[in-house]
Subunit: 412 residues, 2 copies
Amino acid sequence: MARIVMKFGGTSVADLDRIRNVAARVKREVDAGNEVAVVVSAMSGVTNQLVAWCQSLSPLHDAREYDTVVATGEQVTSGLTAIALQEMGVEARSWQGWQIPLRTDGAHGKARIDTVAADDIVARMARGQVAVVAGFQGIAPDNRVATLGRGGSDTSAVALAAALKAERCDIYTDVDGIYTTDPRIVAKARKLGKIAYEEMLELASVGAKVLQTRSVELAMKERVRVQVLSSFDGGNRLGSDLPGTLVVDEDEIVEKEIVAGIAYSRDEAKVTVRRVPDRPGIAAAIFGPLAGAGVNVDMIVQNVSADGTTDMTFTLGRSDLPRAHKTLDDNRAIIGYTELVTDTNVAKISVVGVGMRSHAGVANTMFRTLADKAINIQVISTSEIKVSVLIGADYTELAVRALHTAYGLDAA
Amino acid sequence: MARIVMKFGGTSVADLDRIRNVAARVKREVDAGNEVAVVVSAMSGVTNQLVAWCQSLSPLHDAREYDTVVATGEQVTSGLTAIALQEMGVEARSWQGWQIPLRTDGAHGKARIDTVAADDIVARMARGQVAVVAGFQGIAPDNRVATLGRGGSDTSAVALAAALKAERCDIYTDVDGIYTTDPRIVAKARKLGKIAYEEMLELASVGAKVLQTRSVELAMKERVRVQVLSSFDGGNRLGSDLPGTLVVDEDEIVEKEIVAGIAYSRDEAKVTVRRVPDRPGIAAAIFGPLAGAGVNVDMIVQNVSADGTTDMTFTLGRSDLPRAHKTLDDNRAIIGYTELVTDTNVAKISVVGVGMRSHAGVANTMFRTLADKAINIQVISTSEIKVSVLIGADYTELAVRALHTAYGLDAA
């Protein structure tokens, strides 16, 4: 007997048949004697339609009204799922954010969760009632619906699991777990049984889009054990009890791999600001205006100085490139560079693993492996548990495969 | 300068263009210096879709969850309408039932409004903000969304107008007012400038489906002046300021017509219970079980007794006929009738007018007119301001036209 939270995404509740399947999956857990809370997303496609309506009426629509409109998607699914459960003889009740209440800050459209009142739900779960919570939303201090941003239902589920002191938060998705790398690129990629929060965070931030980054941060902070597993088991049938990947505290992982996984991202762009004066404050002159324009700079490299000038190279999300370019153009006189060189034909490859903390030579293995394949490294950045390099985009698959083998990750 | 409530039905907000039109219509009232609250229905078709989903998942679905699901239709429209108004420079804010709060009783799916808290909305209206209220819903004592039943947005609008002490409640619909009879049958039907609450109630209950009956009852009780007018002025364009029909206290109507209008309904069925024992308690034996089965009986006629037995004839809504038949079959032994005769090929024709109170001969004019056309009257019932007869359905148009002329209602 355990208390668990089960979260189902949009493709898992895409139509009435799938909602029935979700209800059947939930019933299995109830029948096994577990106390269950369910978090549901909108039926797939619904949120996009609602967002499109808001944008069509007003490109700069009011965030409060946007929230009022788009939150209905999850409200519909929560009610329908409760009905499907009741039809199967499972006592169930839907919950909107304002009913729980799940309180957020006032940042409509991308609100953060402050508190989740769990007492009533806990009491009902103890009586055998399943709580079906509309994901992605809460209530802001202005007594209006606030949504958590795209993918926010993952965060709803983790926050609910923390409030309910649940033993586990199961995130049902369209993949069956976290892999050592993208199985579409490396056939020998292995599904991980467990992965540490920090590793999942680094992987999420470098392109493995299984979980919303914020949900992993919250899980780490609140020590919620998260399981990523598949909604589907071939065709449309809901998954059997195949285990997925547990995202847990690293202390729970007995046999730590040095490298847990290899991620890649092609959504990168590289900017080089040529021949800026090599004087104190030049970095602030470049990156201050970029931050002001909301451009998220990732890796930064400053070349050694020659003749009193230097080159500054950095990477950023590709979609931010036009804004970065304009910002630097506008500030050219102040910065004093001679030329701006941009390159979107780049990819970022990252190796991630908490084992790096205690093992030297992880970065060196990466550099040597790429050198053996004649892949040029353009930029390097490191964190405590991650090494990332920027390379030419054409070498992405080659680099990922070679590194997967080099770190001993290939399946037998 | 006035305070008004404007209510728009599903066809008036069927798509984004029409929502923009509604916003433009509201803006005209704001620009004219009025304080405006708007009540909106779901985009047409949306509620039916949501209801169908609930029914498909469970024919006997939980009313609370049904309410959670179907109330989203109006929530979407309220947010979109607020966005459309803001885009036109009109300050606006959407309101769900739980936010106002508009409190109802606990009869989920067909709740009745208890109270409407208006202070916050009134204060905002005074500052120029338009309140866009999601119709059809409120919040029940269990802190869950409760819907008011189909057509409930009319009642929402009247209740809001009463709470706001609004000068008028304008109901925008797909007809441009209340007519002396159905213009599709009588080309010379006239649009009424004013009609009394009692007349509107009688007309609404005998088939003129312009306003939800309950909204008229509430308007009469709270003395809310209701105007029925058209959303459209040819094609898709929103109406100009053509006046509709005002539903008001009869004291406001100076020149009272004896008959205000003629209504008809083909949704009737007639049941005759043959040769029941003519003894005290026989009516209770027949109509008690029917009431218990939720069958709404309308007209009742008992023939004079012959040989100690009598025939009992009554009418009811056609959709209730199978249930009534089964109930009478089940109680045959107790009632002791010999035969059950049913007829669905009937129509009810009603003449309605508060002027009847002070004018004799209204019923006689009806009987004579129908006799002149050789139309047989099967059942008669009367109220203070209404005379209804049941006739063969084939004579519906003939009867309505003849009566329209006989009561001097034909347009010049």
